[in-house]
């Protein structure tokens, strides 16, 4: 097939940037990475990009196609060609560009290191002379987070990181959840305190770009929601973001609807709210706020309250409440890729799998 594309070239030494056109013949099965290899071999040896495994494992080849981060070795070109598109290839976003499609991953690794991505167990197997078994259900909590290959595709379009470059971001926070959710780790509260920092979990604006881009199904935004739920479960809730989230629960329990007018004071505290009196007045003039909020109570709110008590009794607190949907996800993915695994015991929700055969 005939492939046409445009590549943003960048020379780190001179700062020169230009969009270069390429057109070449490539096999039907070619990925974006195969096409780049052909260009480098046959057309232009000076083109710079990263690669290693060529099979979606090493995480080296993240780059943007028409503004969306992809793994070059996963992206089949046939569908792009069939759609008549001439894609623009550029380096990932939110990371400094070194040359052409190569970005400096150091800020990415620095945030990763800040998560202390190693196990800090509260026991010593040798001392206690016994094994510590972790059940499948306990591992399911971090199944998706453990799939990360550190490619940076999620970071590339993170809207919060674009606005606050110090935001820890989706990859690092997903790694954080991988350890917070690990039954063997004993540093949970200490970790949650650290991840609740100014540039931590409550800095996420829920744009879901990370979830859309991740080529491995890590779902980093869900991992951040799990960290939020774990923080609140462990009483790590000083951050304004945690207070904001808790106010929605309080509203639903008491009136059913959001008590919107009290949201800012409940999040920021009365002192800083009073400082915003001019802004509040402008909203009041438009009927968007009232001087004395009168909560509007939903019909049947006692059912919502009773549900809250019932759910709390059942104790699926924290991240466990989110894991439920992932059993469903596991089933879909296994079904699509091989129907035979549909009834595989390890993906039955809440059931301990039998020991492996052989």
């Amino acid at each position: 097939m005939q492939v046409a594309l445009k590549i943003w070239r960048y020379d780190g030494e001179t700062g020169e940037r230009r969009l270069q056109d390429y057109e070449l013949d490539a096999p039907e099965w070619a990925t974006l990475l195969d096409v780049l290899d052909l260009i480098k071999d046959q057309v232009d040896g000076s083109l710079a990009y990263r690669k290693s495994c060529r099979m979606m494992i090493c995480g080296s080849c993240g780059m943007r196609m028409d503004g969306a981060a992809v793994l070059a070795c996963k992206m089949r070109m046939a569908e792009v060609v069939d759609a008549g598109r001439v894609p623009v290839i550029s380096p990932m976003g939110n990371l400094p560009v070194v040359k052409d499609l190569v970005v400096d991953m150091e800020p990415f690794w620095a945030k990763m290191r800040a998560m202390q991505p190693w196990l800090r167990p509260g026991y010593n197997e040798a001392d206690e002379e016994r094994e510590f078994l972790v059940s499948q259900e306990q591992m399911n909590v971090i199944h998706k987070e453990a799939l990360c290959i550190n490619c940076g595709c999620c970071v590339s379009e993170c809207n919060s990181m674009e606005s606050d470059p110090d935001f820890l971001g989706p990859a690092a926070l997903a790694k954080g959840m991988r350890f917070v959710g690990d039954a063997r780790d004993a540093a949970t509260v200490e970790r949650l305190e650290a991840y609740n920092s100014e540039h931590g979990i409550w800095d996420c604006t829920r744009c879901y770009f990370c979830q859309e881009r991740c080529p491995k199904g890590v779902d980093p935004r869900d991992a951040i929601a799990k960290l939020g739920a774990e923080s609140i479960r462990h009483g790590v809730d000083r951050d304004m973001g945690a207070k904001h989230a808790k106010w929605f629960v309080q509203s639903a329990k008491t009136t059913g609807w959001l008590r919107e007018e009290e949201l800012i004071p409940k999040t920021q505290g009365w002192v800083s709210t009073v400082k915003q009196v001019q802004f509040a007045m402008s909203l009041m003039r438009k009927g968007k706020a009232r001087p004395l909020p009168i909560p509007h109570v939903a019909e049947g709110v006692e059912e919502a309250r009773a549900l809250y008590d019932l759910v709390k009794e059942q104790g699926r607190d924290g991240a466990l409440g989110i894991v439920q949907g992932e059993h469903a996800l596991a089933r879909i993915e296994f079904t699509e890729e091989g129907g035979a695994r549909r009834a595989a015991p390890e993906i039955e929700p809440g059931v301990e799998p039998p020991p492996a055969e052989g």
Partner: protein, 300 residues
């Protein structure tokens, strides 16, 4: 009714904002439904969807609250639960998807619902945003017929926001990187759609109370780009985006020392103007940024 067909009757979920700070969205939607021949059965005995916050604070409670909304929607006999907010759409679709796909989970949640006097949920409802109902098919034809007054080539910037596009595995209506529905509606109403890159990005609303500076850094992008592209107004399918774009625009002006004054319309208001719905229903007086320049332009 087929998957993308036009339902004659829907269960209507207003969500919090349309009954609070965005009352103009509720009245516009109701007037528009009459023009489209769409019967709305308003869900009264329901709560907030949790707006992503309850999902983050108490995920199991989030699931049950949304299951309760879905159960009451199912009890109306309608197959479609219509939303008018991105965030409600994501929260309800996410819960619905989990409940439909996982029988054991649905059984547990239904048992809990019944224990507090709510009907069980069998998974028979599809959650769809008003945007999707009028973007194609029969709904789009009815929209064209209703929008008889037109928009006289008004230059309108479509702003999608996040949670109507992503995650696409839960939304599935259009390509999240190349959406077309708002553009199709703007054109059908006689306006001209203005293109700009930030139309699929975040307005900053979810963190506007807790991280104002970061949020304003997001909010400025669509506003700035739309003005640069020559927009007379912006339209959004989400009342939270609307609040951010309209009410917080003054903070953006204060922070940057610049003047934007970009009028922001709810989706139902934009169609409503083209359909000749009275000002008393569209209630532009409730906006912080004046919509008068748009109305003047259409009057001349």
């Amino acid at each position: 009714m087929d998957q993308n067909g036009f339902p004659e009757k829907v269960a209507y979920y207003t969500g919090c904002l349309a009954t609070l700070s965005a009352k103009e969205l509720d009245s516009s939607t109701r007037s528009l439904a009459v023009r489209l021949g769409l019967e709305l059965e308003t869900l009264e005995a329901v709560t907030c969807c949790g707006a992503g916050d309850i999902h983050e604070a108490e995920p199991d409670y989030y699931l049950h609250l949304n299951a309760r909304i879905l159960a009451y929607a199912e009890a109306t006999g309608a197959e479609t639960l219509m939303t008018i907010c991105n965030v409600c759409t994501l929260n309800l679709r996410q819960a619905n998807w989990q409940l439909k796909i996982d029988d054991q989970l649905r059984a547990r949640v239904s048992r809990n619902l019944e224990a507090v006097g709510v009907p069980a949920y069998s998974g028979g409802v599809e959650v769809r945003h008003l945007l999707w109902l009028v973007a194609e098919g029969e709904g789009h034809e009815r929209l064209k017929a209703a929008a008889h007054r037109g928009l006289r080539g008004l230059r309108v910037a479509p702003f999608y926001g996040c949670q109507i596009l992503r995650p696409s595995k839960l939304m599935g209506f259009e390509d999240p990187d190349r959406p077309w529905s708002l553009e199709a509606i703007i054109q059908a109403c006689g306006g001209e759609a203005v293109d700009y890159p930030a139309k699929i990005k975040c307005c900053g609303f979810p963190i506007i109370a807790a991280r104002e500076e970061t949020a304003l850094g997001e909010l400025i992008q669509p506003i700035e780009q739309a003005i640069e592209a020559g927009a007379d107004a912006m339209v959004t399918p989400c009342p939270l985006c609307h609040l951010s774009l309209d009410a917080w625009q003054q903070k953006l002006e204060a922070a940057t020392g610049r003047e934007f004054r970009l009028p922001i319309l709810h989706l139902a208001q934009l169609i409503g103007v083209a359909a000749g719905i009275e000002e008393s229903e569209l209630r532009f007086k409730r906006h912080v940024v004046s919509v008068d320049p748009v109305l003047d332009k259409l009057a001349t």
